[in-house]
């Protein structure tokens, strides 16, 4: 790859550069370009700011997402306070959030073999539902790990809510598992 003096590096390439998704020669070329191009430097700084902002948001319990078992294991290794609930298909669990909990994980065991697309539906106590289409998953793991928004869950009163998983195929969605969570405030 060559980066000419007056040709800016596309944002996608700067993202790859930030994460190391390119060869050493390409990294060196962009290093050189950034040494004289403040426009591209500002773009790179925006990626650095988003990195820190995402870390801060997650640490504040403001981000919910599907995560991996390895990711959770590494949080535990770093002494991050993780509360985890494992529940099987058709199962239920009593759950809460302690004041010191930083991360709340729901580990949903599910028959994922052969599933091409997975949708998640959350049913709240008032009857409201939230639909999360096409969630990422590793079929071989046989489970889906959800990191909840701890800051939003912690102050909730006692309530029950359900999660449903749907395997989506050309023939339509088919429910493959349901889980019930009995939330109680920390006491």
């Amino acid at each position: 790859m060559s980066v000419l003096h007056d040709t800016h590096v596309p944002f996608d390439r700067l993202v790859d550069y930030w994460f190391g998704d390119m060869g050493d020669a390409d990294i060196a070329t962009i290093d050189e370009h950034l040494m004289h191009c403040d426009s591209c430097g500002a773009q790179l700084e925006s990626v650095a700011l988003l990195t820190q902002g995402t870390r801060d948001a997650f640490a504040a319990g403001e981000v919910g997402a599907v995560v991996s078992a390895d990711f959770v294991a590494r949080l535990v290794e770093r002494d991050v306070r993780v509360r985890e609930y494992r529940v099987g298909p058709g199962g239920s669990v009593h759950c809460t959030v302690a004041p010191e909990d930083v991360v709340l994980i729901s580990r949903l065991e599910a028959p994922l073999h052969g599933v091409g697309r997975l949708d998640l539906v959350a049913e709240m106590p008032e009857g409201a539902t939230e639909h999360f289409p096409d969630v990422p998953f590793d079929a071989a793991s046989g489970e889906l790990l959800l990191a909840s928004r701890v800051a939003r869950v912690r102050p909730l009163p006692a309530h029950d809510f359900r999660l449903r998983l749907f395997a989506v195929a050309d023939t339509g969605p088919q429910e493959i598992a349901e889980y019930v969570f009995h939330h109680r405030p920390w006491q």
């Binding site: 980066v3 000419l4 003096h5 944002f11 996608d12 993202v15 790859d16 930030w18 994460f19 190391g20 998704d21 070329t29 290093d31 050189e32 370009h33 950034l34 040494m35 004289h36 403040d38 430097g41 790179l44 700084e45 925006s46 990626v47 650095a48 700011l49 988003l50 990195t51 820190q52 902002g53 995402t54 870390r55 801060d56 948001a57 997650f58 504040a60 403001e62 981000v63 919910g64 997402a65 599907v66 995560v67 991996s68 078992a69 390895d70 990711f71 590494r74 770093r78 002494d79 991050v80 999360f132 289409p133 096409d134 969630v135 990422p136 998953f137 590793d138 079929a139 071989a140 990191a147």
Partner: protein, 192 residues
């Protein structure tokens, strides 16, 4: 001609030459301007290669002090190659700091302390509420890829293995998601 050398006619070279030929106080303004131009670039290099804002600050200060000292003393014989010199100094300094960081990491592991280094300083950090709001607006797949990528800064293959995605797919999702996230945050979190 490499990309750095193409900066031959830039303002940096003019300033470097004036510092090299001036004496003492006469070069002060040129030094200050050169510092303002080059210090942020050295710091960006440090952020990318050291992943730690404090280490990036150390690198920036060391490289700029070295650069100005070399110019003042006349030991930087080709001021027109100022950008190449700064880049080379950054690379060498990163190697030295990494050796020091490895020692620090060994100590941290020994004492069981775990820290997630800050990438940027607090005073320039984006408000995490706004970032959180924009993250929550991303589709599930994109949010997971962004979260795992930024939290651990792993290559696309590692992130993909954790989420049942190919490395190529992760890169495509990551490009799209980070661009969306940036647009959302920079617009104040009001665009969808």
């Amino acid at each position: 001609m490499d990309a750095v050398e193409t900066g031959l006619q830039g303002r940096e070279v003019v300033l470097a030459r004036s510092i090299a030929v001036a004496a003492g106080e006469q070069a002060r303004e040129a030094e200050a301007e050169l510092y303002r131009l080059l210090a942020p670039r050295a710091r960006r290099y440090g952020l990318r290669h050291l992943r730690d804002s404090h280490a990036a600050d150390d690198l920036m200060q060391h490289v700029m002090a070295l650069t100005l000292e070399q110019l003042r003393s006349g030991r930087l014989r080709e001021p027109e190659r100022i950008l190449s010199f700064v880049l080379g100094a950054c690379r060498l300094t990163v190697q030295e700091l990494r050796r020091g960081a490895r020692r620090r990491e060994e100590l941290l592991q020994y004492y069981g302390e775990a820290l997630m280094p800050d990438v940027v300083e607090d005073d320039v950090a984006m408000g995490h509420q706004r970032v959180a709001e924009c993250l929550q607006r991303l589709p599930e797949r994109e949010r997971s890829v962004v979260l795992l990528s930024f939290m651990e800064e792993r290559e696309a293959g590692d992130v993909g293995a954790a989420l049942g995605l190919s490395a190529g797919n992760v890169r495509v999702i990551r490009h799209r998601a980070i661009a969306r996230l940036r647009d959302c945050v920079e617009s104040g979190g009001v665009r969808r």
